[in-house]
Amino acid sequence: MSRRPPRGEYIETDTGNKVARKATLVGTQNIMLGGKTVIQPEVMIRGDLIRTIQASSQSASGAPPNNTAVSIGRYCFLSRGCCLRPPGRLYKGTFTYMPLRMGDHVFVGPGSVIQAASVGSHVHIGTNVVVGEFAIIKDYVRILDGTVVPPNMVIPSLSIVAGQPARLIGEVPEGGHEAFELRDLYKTVGNNPQPAPS
């Protein structure tokens, strides 16, 4: 075991988030973390890519503009070198980014790039996966290593997808739901990591 850096590799927040000092979070005020989320070194989250045009319903109601660019739920795990980037498109003739929403217990593998409109809860995204702009990933979805999910693709719940472009290759079995839980993984990283239960 190498000696820990004196200050600790991670910043641990009140809500239990563990954010690596070597992670790049741009526009932190627009990044929402639900708590107990791990952000490993070299992760990049582009909170600066905010929506420039507000949805018509919102502007009509006079509510303060919601500038959340990336929202992440509880017990998410963003592995080393992955990137979360809000998707963007032309809307009524002007280019705008749209928020990227992520549920609870989402694992993002190393080197993956996520530009989805929404990622559900209990989702496992493997290593070096590309999720294209405005893709919608529902709950209990497993995306195998190296998959390229095309823009606008919808992946229904309990799907296992792989390939370039992604195609359905199987269904998550009934007994496989618990494997998406990330509570135990959460404990294994941070400044005081605990060994994984045997």
Binding site: R89, V148, N152, V154, P156, R167, G175, E178, R183, P195
Partner: protein, 615 residues
């Protein structure tokens, strides 16, 4: 070669035909004990491919007290839905419209990526793939389907749409190239329309075509409809004059009486109808396009020309052709589509939520909620909550030989031939009773290259999973239960990290401790509801020369994988009712615990430990 992470596959009893349908009476499992022990299960047998499953894939029938797998359960469809728009499709629509989405959901015929509706006028900028809010977008038609993955556009095959919605209905009326394609209803109406018929007759006549080759070109659906109605007319009229292909009638195929003749052969002649025999009127074959005759177009020069200009790149692959749906395509019986320009957007195949029944007792063992947006299950009897889970971890004990410590302790590392290697098997008990586990493994694994296997502790007890259950009884609120579980997990983790340093087997300093524990008949480590034991294997040398093997000197696929067949017998005593809820009620009301019932479950499983280094 891909690194192999250790795995456990469990054999479903359905692979053994003698066990399926056997009553689960208290005596029968013990009765068959003997022969079950005698048989050695070969994980490499071709049949094993179809009976081995990871634990997550297995269900459990509470009534039969038996494992059930995806192969033996019977499935029933709960809901059909489109995987793209996630709308439920009622089964009445399935009957009338088929098993594909009839909204605007299409896959790219080139790469199967999703297609989005885009305006043709504006340039195909991926930022414009505004499938979700066409109403808000200011662009107007015409529209095309565009692939966001390979940039294919339906304009490449000459298909444009007037409206951005109900693409399926619009596409049904369009041929590749943009010409209209009649729907079934329109075709029927057109056939009835006398003005069309005379017009069609006139054109055929004016071209002076005496031969049938100048007949109207029929599409597949029209041809089928014409043929069908023609034959129905023929069958209704057995005396129809044989004006057509007279030579064929000699063979008797085209006579409606041939059916009754064949019937009489198989029924001993008693059914033979003398009257029918006398009526030798035969069916004739279709003679014109109205009757469904379509002359084969054997002139392939157009296709050859196209092949010369477009080359191989312009042809469709087998996979692309398989993805096409036959009725929407342009394909005829002769001359299937062969070029990319003939491919059409593929409407999404529907998916279904399915419930699963036990094949023996017909009880439902898995049932999802019908609503598409939810992932909850009404019933979900997974094997993992009834039979112990098994985790495999390489164990490095040795400082004795410095090379070995780098060997098996690294997950996925190759196993050294002829060198004893140790693996830690951790069994975790999911049920609320103490279980007794008995393991049986052959001393030598089956196959051409047998490994020596020693299970150091083949018999042990695992404590019940009671703790959680007791707590859950006290505060039935799910949130409380969750918090409790979390707290315990944290405490458990703490205990492990402080007290049981032996589990941290990457440390070499507790070697003495470790070697002390490596004793035959002793378990390695024990926790609240889990037990770890050690298995020693001596992998074989994969030398091929000296083996008097069957099938020559080539290492077959995955023959270097060390797989141990293991027979697991789990015994426990449970409350007589068997139903946990009922048990709980009885316990809290202070009822007696006398009616305890002996239970037993036995099954084969396969432990995949790793690949052996090739010598």
């Amino acid at each position: 070669m891909a690194a192999l992470t250790p795995y456990t596959y469990i054999q479903c009893p359905c692979s053994d035909s003698s066990t399926l349908g056997r009553s689960s009476g208290p005596n029968s499992p013990t009765g068959s004990e003997g022969d079950e022990d005698d048989r050695t299960f070969d994980p490499r047998a071709p049949r094993s491919n179809y009976s081995l499953y990871p634990l997550e894939y297995l269900l459990y029938c509470e009534d039969c007290h038996q494992i059930r797998c995806p192969r033996c359960v019977s499935e029933e469809i709960v809901t059909y839905y489109c995987p793209n728009c996630l709308f439920e499709v009622p089964s009445s629509t399935i009957k009338s419209e088929g098993n594909r989405c009839t909204r605007s959901c299409f896959q790219c015929p080139i790469c199967i990526g999703p297609l989005a509706v885009t305006s043709v006028e504006t340039k195909p900028d991926p930022g414009l793939l505004a499938a979700t809010d066409n109403t808000a977008a200011p662009h107007s038609g015409p529209y095309a389907l565009t692939c966001s993955y390979c940039n294919w556009s339906s304009t490449e095959v000459g298909i444009k749409f007037d409206k951005p919605n109900s693409i399926h209905a619009q596409l049904a009326k369009l041929r590749n190239g943009g010409t209209t394609r009649l729907t079934a209803k329109e075709r029927k109406e057109r056939r009835k329309d006398p003005s069309y018929r005379s017009q069609a007759a006139a054109t055929t006549g004016s071209e002076g075509g005496a031969g049938p080759g100048k007949e109207e070109k029929l599409d597949l659906e029209t041809q089928f409809a014409n043929l069908k109605s023609f034959y129905q007319r023929q069958l209704a009229d057995p005396n129809s004059a044989d004006t057509g292909l007279a030579s064929l009638s000699d063979l008797g195929f085209s006579s409606p009486t041939s059916l009754s003749r064949i019937m009489s052969i198989y029924t001993g002649g008693s059914l033979q109808d003398k009257k029918a025999k006398s009526r030798v009127g035969a069916m004739r074959e279709a003679l014109e396009s109205d009757e469904g005759l379509q002359i084969a177009d054997l002139d392939e020069s157009a296709a050859i020309d196209k092949l010369q200009t477009d080359g191989h790149d312009g042809t469709a692959s087998t996979a692309q052709l398989l993805d096409q749906i036959p009725n929407l395509g342009e394909a005829h019986l002769h001359g299937r589509s062969r070029f990319l320009s003939e491919l059409r957007p593929i409407p999404y195949l529907l998916r279904a939520k399915r419930s699963k029944r036990c094949p023996v007792c017909r009880h439902i063992i898995s049932k999802p909620e019908a609503k598409i947006q939810t992932t909850r299950f009404r019933i979900r009897l997974v094997a993992g909550s009834y039979i112990p889970s098994l985790a495999i971890r390489p164990l490095s004990l040795s400082s004795a030989s410095s090379t070995s410590s780098s060997g098996a302790s690294v997950p996925g590392a190759l196993l050294e031939p002829l060198k004893p290697t140790h693996f830690l098997l951790t069994f975790r008990n999911p049920i609320f009773d103490t279980i007794k586990v008995t393991l049986g493994a052959p001393a030598k694994t089956p196959g051409r290259f047998p490994s020596k296997v020693t299970v150091l502790c083949p018999e042990f007890e695992i404590d019940a999973n009671t703790d959680v259950w007791d707590e859950a009884l006290k505060d039935s609120g799910e949130r409380e239960r969750e918090r409790e579980r979390e707290r315990r997990a944290r405490r458990g983790g703490f205990e492990e990290s402080t007290t049981t340093s032996s589990s941290n087997n990457h440390n070499n300093n507790n070697n003495n401790n470790a070697q002390n524990q490596l004793e035959v008949g002793k378990i390695w480590e024990r926790g609240r509801n889990w037990v770890s034991i050690v298995v020693e294997v001596v992998p074989p040398s994969l030398k091929l020369g000296d083996s008097t093997g069957d099938g020559g000197g080539v290492l077959r696929e995955d023959e270097d994988v060390l797989e141990i067949p293991m027979f697991v017998r789990v015994e426990w005593e449970s409350e007589g009712g068997g139903d946990e809820v009922a048990v709980a009620a009885r316990d809290t009301s202070g009822g007696s615990k006398e009616a305890r019932e002996k239970r037993e479950l036995a099954y084969w499983c396969v432990l995949g430990l790793g690949r052996i280094r090739r010598s």
